[in-house]
């Protein structure tokens, strides 16, 4: 069904927008930025900050563009002197009671207030009367700090806790210029850190990030959270080769503009102490570090020797490209396909917002390349075990016939400790690839930081090994993806670059699961 559209004019330019679009959104689509504080695309629109006023021909008063839908033939100006003056003056009002503590404010650099008053050439010089004082720094929960004096009362945080999490922790108390934002109880809902993202100023800040790095030093990369089957779209902010924080990125079909608190901390696993960053071989019962090429060759020797007697444990945490390249290798070895995926860690249930009980990011994608037989069953007859990422073989002694164990993973574990060859692999933030989320949406993540010296993603290991069996070696994730797209209907007609920022859904995927 074709959507009804409306033709309007913004700053003299004709714009076509779907019926019901808000002026602020239609303007954004046409490349016209309208300043705003209280408006948020995924929250209700109280139109209280009054920053987004625009001139609509025929209307005596300026209209709030965040709550006014487009009407056919509307002539809108956002650049007239009347509008500019209004924005400047509203901004001036916003600054009256705002403490000027930018030099010590953690939000500096990504503060809506600071950005705007620089744009409008305003400095808080006119107001020489005493400011209203409110509660300064308070820890309002494990993830957040609140400074009520910096609050501009946009009510986004109140609306988030009322409308999105429905946990109702925040409220605006009192009235007039004594109105004050307050948490009436500990803010410990699983999505709390989103409040720091949506607060347009430095009133709500993230404990995990406070005073860590000045934001203007940060670099940003598009990625996907690997924390569960939702695959929230995110940005990873990094500085000097280290990931510093994860933030949600807008994708209406997946996570709107939110992510959960647990997901947000996953960047920490990139550098934690259990991280495997050097290959190892087992010699005389002890693990010794070796060069990547020694470990690679030893693993290859085992794979060639045992070939079809290899039992492989796959993982739902690896990318589609990893799983495809591995499956191709196994096929060439005439070994059984990787075993069905292990259960995800318990503890979560599907909740009403984002989190999925399945805490692996790519079960949907990887299952396309896995078998159904249990790894434990296969192990009984296999002579070589190839374990990807999972701690699937913690007690090797139960399988005396096993001549060798190869472990490929990111973190150390009992299985890794009893393996003959340990090959570290790159983590999601260290390479590029795609995950297929629970809705069947294939989403791309890009490389944020570099992997430890000599550490590569699984698809590279698999594709290099497959050369020994007569296969071609892939040069890039995009190339793997191309092969995958021709062979598998789940990826039909897709290209790696075509996944863009918000991914694609296979036509065969269950559309009803779309959020």
């Amino acid at each position: 069904m074709a959507q009804e559209t409306v033709k309007i004019t913004i700053n003299g330019k004709e714009v076509v927008a779907p019926k019901g679009t808000l002026i602020i959104e239609a303007a954004a689509q046409a490349g016209v930025e309208i300043p705003h504080y209280c408006y948020h695309p995924h929250l209700s629109r109280p139109a209280v900050c009054r920053m987004c006023l625009v001139d609509v021909e025929g209307q005596r008063k300026l209209q709030p563009s965040c709550s006014t839908p487009v009407q056919p033939g509307q002539v809108i100006r956002t650049d007239s002197p009347k509008v500019q003056e209004a924005v400047r003056e509203v901004l001036e009002f916003t600054l009256i009671n705002h403490p000027l503590d930018c030099p010590v404010c953690d939000q500096a650099g990504e503060c809506g207030l600071q950005n705007n008053y620089q744009d409008y050439g305003l400095y808080n010089t006119k107001f020489t009367l005493p400011k209203v004082h409110k509660a300064k720094v308070q820890k309002i929960g494990p993830t957040l700090t609140l400074d009520a004096e910096r609050c501009i009362l946009c009510s986004r945080c109140v609306r988030f806790t009322d409308e999105i999490t429905k946990t109702h922790e925040m409220g605006i108390m009192q009235r007039g210029d004594h109105a004050e934002i307050q948490a009436v109880k500990e803010v410990n809902n699983p999505y709390s850190t989103n409040l720091a993202d949506i607060c347009p100023v430095g009133a709500l800040t993230q404990n995990d990030f406070r005073f860590k790095v000045r934001v203007w030093y940060l670099k940003h990369q598009q990625s996907i959270c690997p924390g569960c089957a939702r695959g929230c779209n995110i940005v990873v902010d990094h500085y000097r080769g280290e990931a510093q924080r994860m933030r949600p990125r807008n994708n209406n079909a997946v996570n709107q503009s939110w992510m959960c608190d647990d997901g947000r901390l996953l960047y920490k696993a990139i550098r934690n102490e259990d991280r495997l960053n050097a290959p190892m071989l087992r010699k005389d019962g002890k693990r010794v570090a070796v060069t990547p090429s020694v470990a690679f060759s030893e693993a290859l020797r085992l794979l060639e020797k045992h070939a079809k007697h290899t039992a492989t444990q796959g993982s739902a945490s690896v990318s589609n490209e990893d799983a495809f390249a591995l499956a191709r290798l196994l096929k060439m070895m005439q070994a059984p396909v990787a075993s069905s995926l292990r259960e995800s860690p318990v503890g979560w249930e599907d909740d009403a917002l984002l989190r999925r009980a399945d805490r692996t990011p790519n079960r949907n994608g990887v299952s396309a390349f896995s078998g159904t037989e249990e790894f434990a069953v296969r192990l009984k007859t296999a002579t070589l075990a190839l374990v990807i990422q999972e701690d699937a073989l913690p007690e090797r002694s139960l399988y005396p016939q096993l001549a060798g164990v190869i472990y490929v993973g990111t973190h150390d574990c009992p299985t890794a400790r009893s393996a003959d060859v340990v090959l570290p692999m790159a983590m999601w933030a260290e390479y590029e690839g795609s995950f297929t989320n629970f809705q069947g949406r294939v989403q791309r993540f890009l490389s944020v930081v570099s992997a430890p010296e000599g550490v590569v993603p699984l698809w590279q290991l698999a594709s290099r090994w497959s050369e020994a069996f007569g296969g071609k070696r892939y040069a890039s994730a995009a190339e793997v993806f191309r092969a995958m797209a021709t062979e598998h209907p789940l990826f039909a007609k897709m290209t790696f670059d075509g996944l863009g920022e918000i991914g694609l859904c296979a036509p065969s995927a269950d559309q009803s699961k779309e959020a």
Binding site: C49, R50, M51, E89, N97, L129, I172, R175, A179
Partner: protein, 419 residues
């Protein structure tokens, strides 16, 4: 002098009781209305050209006609008895002397728009008035003027008295709806207007006490008859309150168009001994003041006061004697709006506070010349940019005082030794 439609029986102490009210012909209008088509009742209201008496002056009949006829939702009538605009005390008089007129007016409105549930939102401080209304409502229920099948017809009407709790902004109609829903009284963005999405998101008429209380007269005598009174733009009569140092302060019902000075001198008895008229705030504290010269030209009507740069507002006249500091008067007014801003819109929340702090500083003798420009700048920045008219209501008197009394303001910001 006075023209008594609504106040005709107010001298009768029994009029506030059902018995007395009935003896004086009460509840005949609702019976008549119930025999008419609802649309015909709306038509009478339209004919009367009665403009809402809560301050905004919107034509009452037209407002009723906006209520959708075909809807699955319940419809509501809400009577605005929040009366909090400084200088205004007419609705309180109606409640004291004539509560049944109000109840009857509400019933007429409910029939006209086919609503079965009505509320009276009364300001919290009016505790005694709430008790009076509660008693009158009970009487009306007991005698079949409210409840199931009113006046023996099949028309049901529930009337619920709802008390506020101390917030001027709940007089603004959508702030009132929020408050009735159990929330902070923070006005809503319009559109949607209450006629389509009001109380509990249902079509709602909101009218002031006086607007509703005069409806029985209009139904009984006909809208055209009402429209013959007053001026073409300000039809009918108006309850006008007057306070300040005049001999007979109080509420008087007059025909619209009466010269302001006639009202002050003849009905209110003029200034008390030893006081001279300095300025008049004609319609509640948000209306700009008039100088004595302007007062001579002014008539009590929408159009006359508009022309003089002020407004009829609630017709709550405040008389300032010439020995009273206009700086102090404006400081009090600024304090009021700062205190009562609901705080949601930035220009109002910050602007009202800024105006008050600046006025306070000037009143304390610590003002500076640039403060006057600042006051104009702030007022201009507040107007027309907020969700409701409170910000405008705060800016108008500020601009009015600056315009009307430039010398007094100039003097107030001049250091003492330089004067």
């Amino acid at each position: 002098m006075e023209k008594k439609l609504l106040t005709k029986y107010w001298h009768d102490p029994n009029h506030k009781m059902l018995d007395g009210y009935l003896k004086n012909g009460g509840y005949a209008a609702i019976k008549k209305a119930l025999g008419m088509e609802p649309d015909a009742v709306i038509e009478e209201a339209k004919q009367s050209k009665l403009r809402g008496r809560g301050g905004a002056g919107f034509p009452a009949g037209m407002k009723w006609s906006f209520i959708p006829k075909k809807t699955d939702k319940p419809k509501y009538v809400v009577c605005n008895a929040d009366e909090s605009e400084p200088g205004t005390f007419k609705d309180r008089e109606i409640i004291h002397k004539d509560p049944h007129s109000l109840i009857e007016g509400i019933a007429i409105c409910a029939w006209a728009v086919q609503s079965h549930t009505a509320f009276i939102y009364i300001r919290g401080e009016f505790t005694e008035e709430a008790k009076m209304l509660e008693r009158a409502i009970q009487e009306a229920y007991d005698h079949g003027y409210l409840g199931k099948g009113i006046c023996g017809t099949a028309f049901d009407l529930e009337l619920i008295l709802h008390r506020g709790a101390g917030a001027y902004i709940c007089g603004e109609e959508t702030g009132m709806l929020e408050s009735l829903e159990g929330k902070k009284g923070q006005p809503r963005n319009k559109p949607p207007f209450p006629a389509s999405e009001g109380l509990f998101q249902c079509p709602t008429v909101i009218n002031n006490v006086e607007t509703l209380a005069v409806m029985p007269w209009i139904v009984l005598n006909g809208g055209a008859e009402y429209a013959k009174l007053g001026t073409p733009e300000s039809t009918g009569t108006k309850l006008v309150g007057i306070s300040g140092p005049v001999k007979r302060p109080g509420v008087y019902e007059i025909e619209m168009g009466m010269p302001l000075m006639t009202f002050i001198n003849e009905l209110a008895g003029g200034m008390i001994e030893g006081k001279t008229l300095g300025a008049v705030i004609p319609g509640g504290s948000s209306t700009p003041p008039l100088t004595p010269v302007q007062c001579e030209q002014a008539k009590i009507s929408y159009e006359s006061l508009d022309k003089l740069g002020s407004a009829l507002g609630t017709a709550g006249i405040i008389v300032l004697p010439d020995d009273f500091s206009v700086i102090e008067a404006m400081t009090v007014i600024a304090r009021f709006y700062a205190d009562e801003s609901c705080g949601q819109c930035t220009p109002c929340r910050e602007g009202t506070g800024w105006l008050y702090k600046t006025m306070k500083r000037i009143y304390a003798g610590k003002g500076a010349a640039q403060d006057l420009q600042m006051l104009s700048h702030i007022s201009a920045g507040m107007k027309g940019r907020t969700i409701c008219a409170l910000a405008d209501a705060a800016a108008w008197p500020m601009e009015g005082f600056l315009r009307t009394f430039p010398e007094a303001f100039q003097k107030a910001v001049t250091p003492k030794q330089a004067r």
